[in-house]
């Protein structure tokens, strides 16, 4: 699942639905933040909630880090330690589950 554009209060309910849908689709959810231009604390917290939910259900959420300013928000609220981040996705995984949100 790829997130693009700006994730703020105007997009949170859409993000929440998308994260629920992704969880229903597969036990491994890869969330690619590289095309994201902005994220706020409430959107980042939704990603944490999704991670908890997916792990509780026996799945796994892997987050592909966004740019420096995107990652800075995760670090500021301490989520850089609580989510499973990776720098680059395995080529195989990115292709199929592309999804564009907001913009």
């Amino acid at each position: 699942m790829t997130l693009a554009g700006e994730l703020d209060i105007a997009a949170v309910s859409q993000l929440d639905e998308a994260l629920h849908r992704a969880q229903a689709d597969a036990p491994l959810v890869v969330l690619d933040l590289r095309a994201l231009e902005f994220i706020d604390a409430s959107a980042a917290t939704l990603i944490l909630a999704a991670d908890r939910r997916i792990r509780r259900a026996g799945g796994r959420l892997v987050v592909v880090r966004g740019g420096a300013t995107i990652h800075a928000l995760f670090a500021l609220i301490g989520l850089d330690q609580k989510l499973e981040f990776m720098h680059r996705p395995f080529a195989a995984i990115t292709e199929p589950v592309a999804f564009t949100q907001g913009g």
Partner: protein, 137 residues
């Protein structure tokens, strides 16, 4: 695109406190900060703080109202810093045990800014932020 300061007396925006106002405010203040000597990194910190403060006005201020009132954003260049004010005319900053938010907004605004003063509007809430920015030469 730096612009001479004389042509920028300050930023003042009054918007209805609805979710889409948050991006408008954030973009306006980020552009103003860039124009007044903030680095891209600094401008993005400022944009995030403004975004969180405006989100609070949208989410909390007009809870008791049928229609949302306004949120006002002001920015001005000061000696060595940028002053930003986010103000609403709502219920005033007070605890809300059923807050839909994760409770990160105020502490986040605090760490992002060099000074953060929360004051009462009359009615409403005034968030005054200062961001140190070296004076452009």
């Amino acid at each position: 695109m730096p612009v001479s300061h004389e042509t920028h007396p300050g930023l003042h925006r009054v918007m209805r406190a609805t979710p889409d106002a948050v991006a408008v405010a954030r973009h306006a203040v980020a552009a103003f900060a860039c124009d007044h000597g903030a680095s891209a990194r600094r401008a993005s910190d400022i944009a995030l703080a403004v975004s969180e403060a405006c989100t609070n006005a949208v989410v909390h201020a007009y809870l008791d109202h049928d229609e949302p009132g306004t949120v006002e954003v002001d920015a001005s260049r000061r000696e060595g810093s940028l002053a930003v004010r986010v103000a609403d005319h709502g219920r005033g900053l007070r605890p809300r045990p059923d807050s839909p938010g994760p409770g990160l907004g105020l502490p986040l605004i605090h760490v992002l800014s060099d000074e953060c003063v929360l004051a009462d509007g009359d009615p409403g809430t005034v968030v005054d932020l200062r961001f140190a920015i070296p004076q452009p030469v």
